[in-house]
Amino acid sequence: MLNPKSLKFFWGIATFPLLILLWVGKVNADTSFKGEVAPFFEAYCVKCHGPKKSKGKITLHSLDGDLAAGQELKRWELILDALEHRDMPPEEEENQPSAEDRAAIITWIESGLRDYVTKASKVALVTTTRRLTNFEYQNTMRDLLGFELELAKDLPVDPDKPYHFNNTAEFMMIGPDQLVRYKEAARKAMASAIVDPGKPEIHRVSSKWEHGKPGKDGLSQAEIGVYQGPGVGRKTVGLKNWPKTGEFRIRVNASGNFPAGFREVPLRLVMGTDLRHDSGSGVYREVGIVHLSNTPDNPGEFEVLGRIENIPVQPASKHRNKIRPPSITITAQNIFDNGELNDHRKSAFDASWSVKAPRVVLESLEFEAPVAAAWPPEHHRRILFESPLRHTKTGEYAYEVIKRFMTRAFRRPVAKDEIDHYYRIYKIYDAEFDTLEQAMRETLAMALISPQFLYHTVIDQAAATKPYELASRLSYFLWGSMPDKELFNLAASGNLDDPAVIENQTRRLLADKRAAGFIENFTSQWLSIAKMKTVSINRDLFPRFLYTVHVGERRGQEQLFRPTIRDYMHEETVGFVGELIRNNASVMNIVDSDFAYLNEPLAVHYGVGGVEGLKLRPVTIKPEHHLGGLLTQGSVLVGNSTGSAPHPIYRAVWVREAILGDKVKPPPAEVPALSDSAGDSADGAVSIKDLLALHRNTPSCYDCHVRLDPWGIPFERYSAIGKFQPLVPSDKVRVRGFNHKLDKTFAGYQAYLKSIYTEEVDASSRVPHGPAVDGMQKLKKYLLKERKAEIAENVIRKLMTYSIGRELTYRDRFEVKKLLQLAQEDGYKLQDMIVSVCQSPIFTGTISKEE
């Protein structure tokens, strides 16, 4: 459906007014720089952007009007955008150009730009060389080796910038310290991938628990109550011996004990160091979750697999002159969560909750490592393949081993001199090591610190053909990893650049489970939701939101070592976008949708009934839930709040950056801060809206905030923790936090809040160039009515930027417009949009030469 022919077709019958203007732009010789454009600037712009004033550091008076020379094109595009989006001249300026004049100038600039781009694209348009991000490195190693080895955590943390993708050449640099880490990671990987000759020693540990009579706390020995911090809700098994490398298996015999009304209980297995609630120290890795719905009379055997190398080890320590050897702890937790765990308790731990809630019955746990269907394991044989050559002609065998490995590691066929190079290295190691295994580990590790491996596939013409570059571009875009066999085969056959093949492959890659990494990485950077996890939540005002520790040194702090509502909020947003992609749904769902993506704790939080269990899924919603789209999701609302109150500026920045695709400048140096952030308004001081109004009245703040604040105000009915909250206390009332003595339970506190929440939240503002909107629903309506094109273009630009790993420039403008046109005709379907991005010449790197 989406191929270049249809692209041209749409292009030909373009109905989008700007495109028509653009189309006629070339013949429109009436407009000239001296005759019309310069006088237009003089009349409407130069007052603020000229020799006297240069607001935003933009000046127009010095432009000479020769776009063909390729000078100042960035500045021209800024001007074009400002005119097109009617950002300039500012709305409140009385002297406004007529619509015709504006359109004529837009046409003139756009056609000039277009002429230049058409000419220049024949010269050069290449994506810049860049290294793999840590995310891509991790995935590539996984697919290259055939098992998941956590390596990226030992690399220097990748740069990260709000509302930016970090996979651009500018961010992805390599320095000596980076290279040292790559070398260590490569050695670690090869030590695991290639095993030593001979059968390994098997390590086994097992524990059993009796599910007989209940003890003092009402639980039998085998039962695990709800995980609630220190010592409660877990069982542990310690390991003293384990192999250095290899796959492990944990088998459990487990079931659930369900009081009336409950049907499912999640058992989570984690492994790592001692998890110490008092100091908060401890590192662990989740190795599996089993959602138990069977009962003790029907025990089930469950199995999880993992790599032992990934498990954090408690180092040896000395205690009163006794040496404690290194150890690993397996912890089994009952992470049941119905969103109400904080509701019932007083100050200390309320053991009765464990009896009222579903329990895990863990009758046995068995650990074994290494496990493998055959020895040596498959990942070893993939590298050191079975061959009689190995013993007769070791040199030839080694050469072939190197060649096969390199072809996969470099994601393309390799040239003879490249193999020769690593064979020379192999010879150095071979001379000094006893076994082929040892020498090969070192040799192949060197291939893993080569530029060919570490950088995105750049075709060395001597070695392979361009389609391999495209194969990698597709797989790194949609999987964050290396191509698979099918992509390699297509690259070899030379058919990969066929638009129909690209379409098939794009849809195939998106349907694969490896696409989950792309969706997560893309979504969290696009929407900049990471900061949601570290917003400091006011636990007095929101006593239910975070599960707190009720005893010991960390009393009152958040419970550790368990998934939290914020983890689920992250999954909610990622899962929501994933649903849109998988179902090829309209991208306009990001503004509003008839479903939300929830599990039980989230549903309880948002006030949606009838959702059970921890697994997230699409849930149909109703208007009274005040949900739908991304704008009302916790990840967005919490991340852009102060933890006590909504933060309209953060939320405004979010809408403009993430949804509308504007670039919002950070507050400049030397301006006075908004005298206070929103926290105080929640405490009943002055309303944030009034504070902002005061701030706007300062001339130096006005220019930016007049375009910013109106976007955040309609969010005001959503609290700091992302709940719909249309009422607030009046100015005179100060909200007190949860108080055990006064409120007894959470319900008591809710009753108190209800009694003082008497005032309607003022959430009305007039958006720039738009109507007055009162609250979220009106804002969504407005966006869907008037801003569809901008929203779609933004998503296209975000996808495109991410896919090619560079910022878009004025050169890409016309391609993006084509894709937008295509999306409009197609009903903004998101998966189709991704297909069209992959088919675009910007992505394939084959800019059309015919224009």
């Binding site: 990260d160 320095g175 160091t273 933890g643």
Partner: protein, 446 residues
């Protein structure tokens, strides 16, 4: 501690070598047994705090008890409540008011942390950051220790333009990722051979040198086949391999020196950000151990970044003071806790300075041999980037004179880089200028 001695008189060497920056990495110097005098190590540390400091005024014009600055007027120091942790160190600290990097002024408070240790003019003439003061010292004198420098942070990595997570840069476009995991830092510093015997380490290094040589050759070949822009990017890689080759050479030389025997006693290396005091002290302890064992002499420690919203640093003020809000907000809101927050940070730094002071070295102590800068490029609430809070401590034996608040305001205004010039001089790096410096602090602080 046993003192080290050197085969070569450094001052002689530099005089003979001409321009300082043209000095080679000095790998050729041999590590002789004979002691030529008993030179004590000369060290430099730069430490950074973010989101500004509290600078309230009182109505009656007296000095506010919770103002970050210990006293109001230039002259001998007295200590208010905020700076009280430094009172026992009175004769070893100075406060410098009115300094800043001109190159950071246009960047905004949340970005000027990038240039705190570099003074690069990123809002003006320079597109990228530039060499940091510790790295210039490491370049010239770093060969004297096992590690040329130590780059620490609390969030790790390099960060990105405008939101650095490191203070140190090798040079333009070459940020150094900071290390932030205590266990990893400990292992890299004190267990570099991962338990292998010395003979094996040497054999490995020798082999590694020849392999890296081949890698270099092959990468150059590849570079030759690439387009112009890609070639430039590949230069970054080649530089890194070159640096690795040098490190291998250096490590080989150092295998002839015994490793410092440091055990983990008293160090909680698994500490997490959930316990800010434990964590911060652990970082300071590691820094102290690195200096004390003479593993390195030049170090930076970015205690907080100006963009910590994605990290646990965002919650530090909450964990420490129970403050209901983000660490960042404590700067903007200026509630009563702000002073207490500054005081907490002061306590941690004073702890480090006291550890140095309580360790005898030569005729005095380690602090006298170490010049330590502590401050921020984001002075106060308003995203302003002028008049940094700057404290200098130690280095008495290197020429620093302490005990005063100095004001560089009005016609006494000088660039912060002048202080860096004096610090470099103190560690025997005789630069004429650094960044936008107009001179040094000679006659004032030294």
């Amino acid at each position: 501690m046993k003192q080290k001695s050197w085969h070569i008189n450094r001052r002689e060497f530099i005089r003979g070598g001409g321009a300082v920056l043209a000095l080679p990495f000095l790998q050729g110097m041999s590590w002789g047994k004979a002691a030529a005098g008993k030179a004590l190590p000369k060290r430099m540390v730069v430490s950074y705090i973010a989101y500004g400091v509290y600078e309230p005024k009182t109505k009656d014009g007296s000095h506010h008890d919770w103002n970050w600055w210990p006293c109001k007027d230039a002259g001998p120091l007295t200590f208010n409540q905020s700076a009280a942790p430094f009172a026992p160190l009175k004769d070893s600290v100075s406060y410098l008011r009115g300094l800043e990097h001109a190159g950071g002024v246009g960047m905004g408070g949340h970005s000027s942390g990038d240039v705190f240790a570099t003074g690069a003019n990123m809002s003006g003439t320079e597109k990228t950051n530039n060499i940091s003061v510790d790295q210039l010292a490491a370049k010239v004198s770093g060969h004297q220790t096992r590690y040329a420098s130590l780059v620490l942070g609390t969030e790790g990595g390099t960060g990105s333009y405008g939101s650095a997570k490191t203070l140190s840069h090798y040079g333009p476009g070459r940020p150094i990722p900071s290390m932030h995991r205590p266990q990893e830092i400990f292992n890299r510093l004190f267990k570099p051979y991962s338990g292998k015997g010395i003979e094996q380490v040497r054999a490995d290094l020798k082999r590694e040198a020849s392999v890296l040589d081949l890698m270099m050759e092959d990468s150059r070949r590849l570079q030759g086949r690439l387009g112009k822009e890609d070639q430039q990017k590949m230069e970054e890689y080649l530089d890194s391999v070159r640096a690795l080759e040098k490190r291998v050479e250096r490590t080989s030389q150092w295998t002839h020196q015994p490793l410092s025997n440091v055990d983990t006693k008293g160090l909680n290396l698994e500490v997490s950000h959930k316990d800010p005091e434990e964590y911060t002290r652990c970082m300071y302890d590691l820094l102290y151990l690195a200096l004390q064992t003479d593993s390195t002499r030049f170090a930076t420690l970015m205690l907080e970044s100006e963009h910590s919203s994605g990290s646990e640093m965002w919650n530090y003020a909450n964990y420490v003071l129970g403050y209901k809000g983000a660490t960042h907000d404590i700067a903007h809101k200026r509630p009563t806790e702000s002073g207490k927050w500054d005081n907490w940070r002061a306590k941690q730094h004073a702890y480090f300075l006291e550890r140095l002071r309580n360790t005898p070295e030569g005729d005095s102590n380690m602090l006298d041999q170490t010049v330590v800068v502590w401050g921020s490029a984001h002075p106060h609430a308003s995203h302003n980037t002028r008049n940094y809070p700057i404290q200098v401590a130690g280095g008495d034996a290197l020429g620093f004179k302490h005990g005063n608040l100095y004001c560089f305001e009005g016609d006494r205004k000088v660039p912060l880089a002048n202080l860096f010039v004096s610090m470099l001089h103190a560690v025997d790096v005789p630069v004429k200028s650094f960044a936008d410096s107009t001179g040094s602090m000679a006659g004032v602080l030294v």
